[in-house]
């Protein structure tokens, strides 16, 4: 899973995981990389290629997100994806 969503609060991270799994998306909670999100200890990994389905789904369920990031092996780190 090469996508990562950061949150303002773990409440929303857990809800995001529930919503995505319920709709058949891969999702896994991980410790949030500090450099991406100082707001909340947990982040959610997902399939970045499916972001056009995933992000509206979270919006419909009123899950608040902080940022969306993509893992790029070449730079060996997380980069902010355009929203």
């Amino acid at each position: 899973m090469d996508g990562l969503i950061s949150f303002f609060a773990s409440h929303h991270a857990i809800r995001a995981e529930t919503v995505l799994k319920r709709h058949g998306h891969a999702a896994r909670l991980v410790p949030g990389p500090r450099e991406l999100s100082p707001n909340c200890g947990v982040a959610l990994r997902f399939e970045f290629a499916r972001r056009d389905e995933v992000l509206p789904l979270l919006a419909i369920h009123r899950v608040r997100i902080d940022g969306v990031h993509e893992y790029r092996p070449r730079t060996d780190g997380w980069e902010a994806a355009p929203r």
């Binding site: 949150f7 303002f8 609060a9 773990s10 409440h11 929303h12 991270a13 857990i14 809800r15 529930t18 909670l29 991980v30 410790p31 949030g32 100082p38 707001n39 909340c40 200890g41 947990v42 982040a43 369920h61 009123r62 608040r64």
Partner: protein
């Protein structure tokens, strides 16, 4: 032993409640939302599962609108101190519990005008009369969904409609009705719903919470760490974090979740029908008896699972002690933290004996209690009766 004090706290709980608490302590013991490791995530998951279950029970679209508190009292304090400002007019009813009346009487000393709409001697409210009080610019209506003394159910949907028509918000105390009556927050037009976890929802004591309607901003009563927005020194303004400072009662919330899931499986409608059958049986049995006064509405549909009564010639505490010691029946006696409600019923300051029925009670238990009360009433008709005197001495 017959436990008829479910209106104070429900007992027994479904076995899944203690099991969920044990499981949380053994396997999900991190601090929810504070760290990113697996035990922290597991604890946060327990909290969110309970939040979802509570949202489902009250038909709340967005679980984020539910915040956990330590009980209904805490939830009501958050709502009242958050929504009321000096100079506001607040309308309430004369059957409120002290968890509403004491904050209001305190707010009164800070320049808030509190108007109490009297209910009749059965605890019923005249919505026309309520509307008169709301019409002159009230900010808020706060009302119990059902009286914890008489059991009278208030027409919350109608009351909310009247409040909305006059630009007032409505805070509902669902301590007695959460889990014992269907509650659809949007259909009823409720702005804030305060509930306790340890009565109809079958959770442990020390749990409760509130629902805040989407779009209504409720400032917190307590500020502090939330595990979110940690880079900032000001309190987050989003739900539920805004209202959940400090580490939650995760073990209790785990139990509450199991209780609510049990209720959803059984069906609140089934619980209501069962309690109504017991209540009707009890009211009919007691009303047929000499020397017994039964309070509350005659129509069983207008009553939750509560029956308050008194026995001529014996004080409520004497009756309560005899019920416990001679018959193994556990009831609550006295004023039930609701002096205003007892004034309304005409039972202040003596109080009443209260039976609070629950899902695990049976018709046979009600019949046994009716026989016990008949016996106590006959003892009470003999003024020199030694049993009553003994009860008085040991009370």
């Amino acid at each position: 032993m017959i436990y008829f004090d479910n209106a104070a706290t429900s007992w027994p709980k479904p076995p899944s409640v203690a099991a969920a608490i044990r499981e949380q302590m053994a396997g999900a013991g991190g601090n929810p939302g504070r760290s990113g490791h697996r035990l922290s995530i597991a604890a946060a998951r327990v909290v969110e599962e309970t939040r979802e279950a509570v949202a489902r029970l009250f038909h709340i679209d967005n679980p984020s609108r539910v915040a956990f508190t330590t009980n209904a009292t805490h939830a009501l304090n958050v709502a009242l101190y958050g929504l009321i400002r000096p100079g506001d007019r607040v309308v309430t009813t004369s059957v409120e519990h002290n968890s509403v009346m004491r904050p209001l009487r305190h707010l009164e000393t800070t320049g808030v005008c509190v108007e109490v709409v009297p209910c009749d001697a059965n605890g019923s409210i005249d919505v026309g009369r309520l509307e008169d009080r709301l019409a002159s610019g009230a900010r808020l209506l706060v009302a119990t969904h059902a009286s914890n003394v008489a059991g009278t159910i208030l027409p919350i949907g109608e009351m909310a409609a009247v409040a909305r028509r006059h630009g007032a918000r409505i805070v509902v105390d669902a301590a007695q009705t959460a889990g014992t009556m269907p509650i659809h927050v949007a259909a009823l037009g409720i702005d804030v719903l305060a509930f306790t976890g340890h009565k109809g929802l079958f959770g442990p004591t020390g749990t409760g919470g509130l629902y805040v309607r989407e779009g209504l901003e409720l400032p917190p009563l307590v500020r502090g760490g939330t595990g979110s927005d940690s880079a900032h020194e000001v309190q987050p303004d989003f739900m539920p974090d805004a209202l959940e400072s400090g580490t939650l009662n995760v073990a209790g919330i785990a139990g509450l979740g199991a209780g609510v899931r049990f209720l959803i499986d059984v069906g609140v409608e089934a619980v209501q029908a069962h309690e109504r059958a017991l209540t009707t049986r009890c009211v009919e049995g007691l009303r047929a008896m000499e020397g017994i006064a039964v309070y509350g509405p005659a129509d069983p549909v207008a009553r939750c699972g509560i029956v308050s009564f008194s026995v001529a010639g014996a004080s409520p505490s004497e009756v309560g002690l005899l019920l416990d010691e001679s018959f193994g029946i556990l009831a609550r006696t006295g004023l039930h933290c609701a002096p205003a409600a007892h004034r309304t019923l005409g039972t202040f300051p003596t109080g009443t004996v209260r039976f609070g029925f629950g899902w695990f009670n049976t018709a046979a238990e009600v019949d046994a209690a009716i026989d016990a009360v008949r016996q106590i009433a006959s003892w009470a008709r003999t003024p020199s009766n030694a049993r009553l005197r003994n009860a008085q001495w040991t009370a």
